[in-house]
Symmetry: none
Subunit: 205 residues, 4 copies
DNA sequence: AATGAATGAGCCTTCATTCAT
DNA sequence: GATGAATGAAGGCTCATTCAT
């Protein structure tokens, strides 16, 4: 199960066993019932521990949501950075963004589903600033990549605030549809189509 | 205030005054606090009625959400159908979809914001079938439009389940960003760019 | 039962029946177990209502404590003002203060006992300012009484901040002892001894 | 800092260093937040130990309260006995009681404040009998002092159960006011006034 | 149709205490 | 002796919903 792989990577060691178990079961509950509809008691029952242990490790329900959310964000960012590091041309960069997005959702559907539903909650919670900061950092990173010599010239005509939506919007839309069961084929099946579409839509002929 | 216009259109007359007031304030509360975080008491206080009146008109909280959600869905559909009716070629059809989407979000931002957040709740509620039915109807309608002689041939290469995301994904992504304050320019400013991008991404050169 | 008399006076009418019942039982519970050790559930069981009703009328546990505390304060003040209004000389004024204190404790032992234990809680709560204001008002009132022509001249040698303790300290001390069971005779038995002692202690020979 | 002095006197030596630290911080926490509102975790954080260490030394929270309470009681008694040993006449005895009370509160305000708030808790706890026993012992001691030839004859008219309140009531009342910030001058400033008032109030002219 | 007091299941959270290391 | 992770009973409080007036 890939969910555990990600957790083992982020919280390694035997000491963190309970922590991983809580996170794993919480993720499952949140996705199955929705975040608000999930009670601490459900999570407790799912990982056979005590409510005290959950609060000991995560402070409160919001802390649990935040831990999951930022774990997902980090993992997604790691994959994106890896893909981007190998891209040479602007086109390869756009492909890297689409491919990393699609591949991550395909390999971590549970984390992706949770990310969509938790974003709103995190935005209203006490870690909203942290989230804004990460978004800014991501955008800055992308801009720096484009600023390298011989890259990004083709995209100058596109308004900066529109760029992320043009590149990732279609993939995101399809991933949402897949994760909520409205379509059946994994987005990975269309990773090339989606990358090509994004690139064409940028209109650098 | 456009929110009321839409309500007046859907619930006309003096008898429905209270009903409109409740819906209007409920919409505001849901958007401000989130659906789950909004209590019936908050809505009652906002429109100076009694809880009994709210339950008399909408049955329960879920009924309130559903009324708002389907009102938005209907209004959006009406605009789309109007735009689509005037489109002759496939390209004009794609433009009509993007334009109607963008224009509706621009003119009804409160309803659009609510729609995004309520979809999940409705999907889990007792009206989920109604929602699925409407989605199917919309897709069927689109297919019928494309099936008319001299239309849609250019799109045959694109997988059907991918089509909606390719057409509307970018616009939707930008609208989300605007509604949540991450970007400042109204999507209407980019309606042409978004329509062209969608058309180009479909790759019918 | 005098406790109810006081309540009927302060919350009259049939509509307030439940409110009085809650206050009455809460007072009994607080005195029997202590404020912190009393749970809402205990009070609910004692007056056969629902937790919701308690919260509907008093907001929260602290609100219940505050309602009881200020009801007692008011009742005590009313008696004091009545006694004081009939005093002509300084000596009669001092006697009025001691007598009203002793008589009130004797006639409302439950409220008096509660007042002693609740003062600390109220001092830390959100109504601490209200309490400070009432104390000031009471002191001002007393000063005004003494400022009338032909009164208070005998007390000018006594420091103002010491005065309340000299007048009421002994009575208060004995009342505490009686309310906690350390002595058996009602303070009313010693009302004259206590008044005389207070007057003598002021040293106006 | 006098708080530590008292502790060093009662728990001397290097072995008891941790014990003194725990007691000292617990006293501070209890006074700052109230006994019930203070958690073991707060105390642990204040003296940088582990919860285990606290339980090892004091058994449980109640044990901590009791240790502090009886330490204060003992210290206060020691001072009183010293003062009383030097009194020859009845009047000197009354003065000794008032002076020792005032002087102790002035020199150990933290312990005095705690004593006021903890008395109720101890009264309900498992050491209530111990407390009753000490009170009786103190009263017996006082009676024995008065029973010596040439002493106490002046007080025979005063009821025994009223005596402690008449002697100490005013001082106690003022000390309470000072400890809770309602008056600003230390009771020590008024030690003579309070002693004279107590003596006068006993009415032995 | 309107009102709002009353209901009570259920939630999040706290915290004294234990015990394996 | 020291540590602190783990326990779980219990508490305050919320809030959708009902129903007598």
């Amino acid at each position: 199960m890939q969910t555990s792989d990600l957790l083992e990577r982020c919280y390694p060691g035997r000491r963190a066993e309970l922590k991983r178990s809580i996170l794993s079961q919480a993720l499952a509950c949140f996705n199955a019932q929705g975040i608000e509809a999930t009670t601490i008691e459900m999570i407790r029952a799912a990982c056979q521990t005590s409510v005290g242990a959950i609060y000991h490790h995560f402070g409160n329900k919001e802390g649990l949501v935040a831990a999951l959310f930022f774990t997902a964000l980090d993992d997604q960012a790691t994959l994106r950075e890896g893909y981007l590091a190998q891209a040479k041309t602007t086109q390869e960069g756009v492909y890297a963004l689409v491919h990393s997005y699609v591949d991550w959702v395909d390999s971590q559907p549970d984390w992706a589903r949770f990310q969509f539903h938790a974003r709103f909650a995190v935005t209203k919670g006490p870690l909203k600033d942290e989230l804004v900061a990460r978004n800014k950092a991501r955008n800055r990173q992308l801009m720096e990549w484009l600023a390298e010599p011989g890259r990004g010239a083709e995209l100058l005509r596109v308004p900066a605030e529109l760029m992320p939506s043009l590149i990732i919007g279609q993939a995101e839309s399809y991933c949402r549809a897949w994760l909520s069961g409205r379509v059946l084929s994994s987005p990975k099946r269309y990773r090339e189509v989606l990358a090509e579409a994004a690139w064409r839509s940028l209109g650098s002929d």
